[in-house]
Symmetry: C2
Subunit: 159 residues, 2 copies
DNA sequence: CAGATCGTTTGTGTAACGCAAACCATTGAT
DNA sequence: ATCAATGGTTTGCGTTACACAAACGATCTG
């Protein structure tokens, strides 16, 4: 009936592009992270844990969208490297509160520093501003993701 | 010695975020794509093939950063579904020129359409403009990627 | 002709999962 | 106090997506 001035073009799907770019980064990351005793998946977990300063193992599983049993293994890796600490929750002693240790924080920073070359390589087509924008968009998307997970977890609005 | 007016903050690494967001999309994509007989990796290959209208199998392997033998299997899948066609290159009959078929193009569009919900779900924190920006940044990054691959392939500057 | 190259097949290994079952410690409701 | 539900853990099994190596046919190139 009415035509809005803004062109109504179909939005692009970025799933495939994400897959593609992510794979390129991940492949290179593996070799850079190996000397640090880390794998890409560990890095994801560590960054999540840095954002949320401490969360239950189930929350982590939900955020990572990963099976609980596999999260156990992931955390075993991180804990035996002293990057992460499992503390019993005082409110519910069944729960583990997972938190980064100081070593964990430092190691994460170190890893990120070491990955500079990788990102320069893969994201070389983007200038620093564009990369920052990319980061912010991804951060926004992933943090809403966590908010949703949190709401689902609480199943109420006291998130 | 001199302080520039622009804040010189360390750039963020988006590798982990990319991993995270991509995983969330991929998980959901799998179930959406299954009825179409596709997997996420097929979609990546199809989008690459749509961009480059026809390329050798080796180029594809290089772009996908995937082992040649595995690309064969991937293309076998796509070809037996009539989404892709392997033609002998007239210049070098050892080479296969891989191209999307009409069916392939349609199926790709269909798949992308079907993935709308998935992206709404995962990227719900971004408004349409932001999503478009995200797409453009990823596209930029991945196409430079291909340019580099192409230069490496040719090993000259006639790319 | 001889050696390199493109694609293919086959076969082997590995990492990252998902899923199910059984277990313990703890909680919360009756 | 009892008993079911819950959080975490372990074990074990299956699957998928790879990488890598070896050997082959067809083809190109010197």
């Amino acid at each position: 009936m009415s035509e809005l001035p803004v062109v109504n073009q179909p939005p692009h799907r970025c799933g495939a592009l994400l897959d593609h770019v992510t794979r390129r980064i991940r492949l290179r990351s593996e070799s850079v992270l190996a000397p640090l005793g880390l794998r890409p998946r560990h890095l994801v977990a560590l960054t999540v844990l840095r954002d949320r300063r401490g969360c239950s193992q189930q929350d982590l599983a939900k955020t990572l969208e990963m099976d609980g049993t596999n999260v156990v293994g992931l955390l075993n890796d991180l804990e035996s490297a002293n990057l992460v600490e499992r503390r019993r929750s005082p409110e519910d002693r069944r729960r583990h509160i997972v938190e980064l240790t100081d070593v964990g924080i430092k190691q994460l920073v170190k890893a990120e520093f070491a990955l500079a070359g990788v990102e320069d390589d893969v994201l070389g087509g983007l200038d620093p501003d564009q990369r920052e924008t990319l980061y912010n968009l991804l951060y926004l998307a992933s943090s809403r993701t966590e908010a949703v997970a949190c709401v689902e977890a609480a199943n109420v609005d006291d998130c």
